[in-house]
């Protein structure tokens, strides 16, 4: 596709359930980022990949959160034992590798934990 695609666009789940959020980046972009955004606030960094490897996962809040990018393209953010505080919009962005790389964002996946 022409842009970054994120699915699902909306996910409602119950506390304690497992969820997966998918990101399909722009073709050829080597860097992929995950952010979490609460209403009216700036995106909070979670993790970024260069190719298949996680270059920096310092933003993952705890071990319930995990992300993979097995073939260096599509990425999945996995959240175990969801909590109400996990409710937010999860944004994915991709970028060509480079010093002044523009981040191209998807429209986000809105997660609501009841």
């Amino acid at each position: 596709g022409a842009g970054v695609s994120q699915t699902p666009s909306n996910k409602v789940t119950e506390k304690g359930k497992y969820v997966e959020l998918r990101c399909d980046p722009i073709s050829g972009h080597t860097a992929l980022y995950w952010y979490r955004q609460s209403l009216g606030q700036g995106p909070e960094f979670l993790i970024y990949f260069q190719g298949t490897g996680a270059a920096d996962d310092s933003g993952l809040p705890n071990d319930r959160f995990f992300a993979v990018r097995p073939e260096g393209s599509v990425s999945t953010l996995k959240i175990q034992r969801t909590e109400r505080g996990d409710s937010a919009v999860y944004l994915c962005a991709s970028s060509r590798q480079g010093k002044t790389g523009e981040l191209f964002f998807g429209e986000g996946s809105r997660l609501t934990v009841l």
């Binding site: 970054v4 860097a31 980022y33 952010y35 009216g40 606030q41 700036g42 995106p43 909070e44 960094f45 970024y48 260069q50 270059a55 920096d56 310092s58 944004l91 962005a93 970028s95 590798q97 010093k99 002044t100 790389g101 523009e102 981040l103 964002f105 998807g106 429209e107 986000g108």
Partner: protein, 111 residues
Amino acid sequence: TQLLEQSPQFLSIQEGENLTVYCNSSSVFSSLQWYRQEPGEGPVLLVTVVTGGEVKKLKRLTFQFGDARKDSSLHITAAQPGDTGLYLCAGDGVGTYKYIFGTGTRLKVLA
């Protein structure tokens, strides 16, 4: 921990007024980007500044990177309702491509 603080947090002004948004940190950044975000969409890049003291203009928007590369400002001249949105600064630390976003400034321009 790198933090980017933006001020003001909220701004509501009349069409035609000028405004400045600030982005401040105690950390040095390799580059500083400004994004605008509309409801239900991801942020979209407006500009990137990479050199201390650099000034870039994009129509009615003027961006400046601080001399020490720790802060930046966005000035809008003669604001229009179409400028309404959430403005975000983002910086990448020296030697990393990890982009940290600021706290955001929500701008509303009234017709």
